[in-house]
Symmetry: C2
Subunit: 214 residues, 2 copies
Amino acid sequence: MKIAIPIFDRMTALDCIGPYEVLSRIPGAEVTFIASETGPKRADTNMLSVSADATLAELPNPDVILIGGGYGTRSLMKDPEMLDWVRTAHETSQWTTSVCTGALVLGAAGILDGLEATTYWTELETLRQFGATPVSERFVEQGKVITAAGVSAGIDMALMLAARMTAPEVAQAIQLGIEYDPQPPFDTGSPAKAPQEIQDLVRAAQRAEEQAAA
Amino acid sequence: MKIAIPIFDRMTALDCIGPYEVLSRIPGAEVTFIASETGPKRADTNMLSVSADATLAELPNPDVILIGGGYGTRSLMKDPEMLDWVRTAHETSQWTTSVCTGALVLGAAGILDGLEATTYWTELETLRQFGATPVSERFVEQGKVITAAGVSAGIDMALMLAARMTAPEVAQAIQLGIEYDPQPPFDTGSPAKAPQEIQDLVRAAQRAEEQAAA
């Protein structure tokens, strides 16, 4: 079972590392971080580098595709090599998945046309430009295409996917293996739960990051 | 606010990347991944490399220390350079923290003597050899020393720590920023909740990994 996770500069690291930590524990699964060239990619914070161990060309037909988010997706959406890879890999994949704004890359590749999908909460409406219907769910399953909400949602999606790929007991053991018994000290993890002033803080930070990148 | 995360071969990546994703979003905070030498360190799965951007010697006095777990901690517990760094950094730190079996490194450095502490659920009793009293909690705060349970517990701890370091509103905005509204598809994330056969599966995988490393 080959699982490919493309990485790129300005990725949000947890989008990929959360699901990696789950999926790599499936017996027999092999997770590979890939990019157009091997070597380190820098996260959106500029405080972390994760390495690609193989090129896109070396892994054209993975069983599972997982595309994470971050501001770097905005370049990926216009990157012919990445979009070609995604389209080709999707033809033979068992599962094609995204976390956060990774959904925008699936959308740009034409994969979300006519489907329900989700993404990071501030980018839900952007999905419409790809012919998708945005849904505010933790993750949305449409046949073999699964899109997850922002960042940490990839952990929940990956546990569900592990159960589908193997058996519920395997996913349950992985959940215990990563001691995933969440006890967040607050309850502001979605726009439906966070007060307006907290949402405003996040949007202001997002605008500052966009401006810094422009 | 300087936050140092030592990394090492055979680390469990999510132990560090979860808290990194939270703490790096604190305004003005700078997270640095450090090691005895800069460059890539390989995770316990052998499927992922994360790079150290600075050496231990370059960051002797961080405000926050966070030590993650994984089988690589067993070597760190006998590594004089790492233990010296931890002891020295702890003298001036505002917070000294661990996730998962990172607590064993704090213990080996003498920092947990006389304290209550937690760690990965299969290693709780090991804490006694460092003079600590094991506690089955998501995280345990003892003055400036905070130990978290396994792997994903670091995310919860980091949110609490972000609130302590700044204000609850900042931590709440970070929680929304990473859309941390956990909805695990199962409820087996702690040994108190997982049936015996699920616990047995995790312990068997753990033994296999220990044997592979021996």
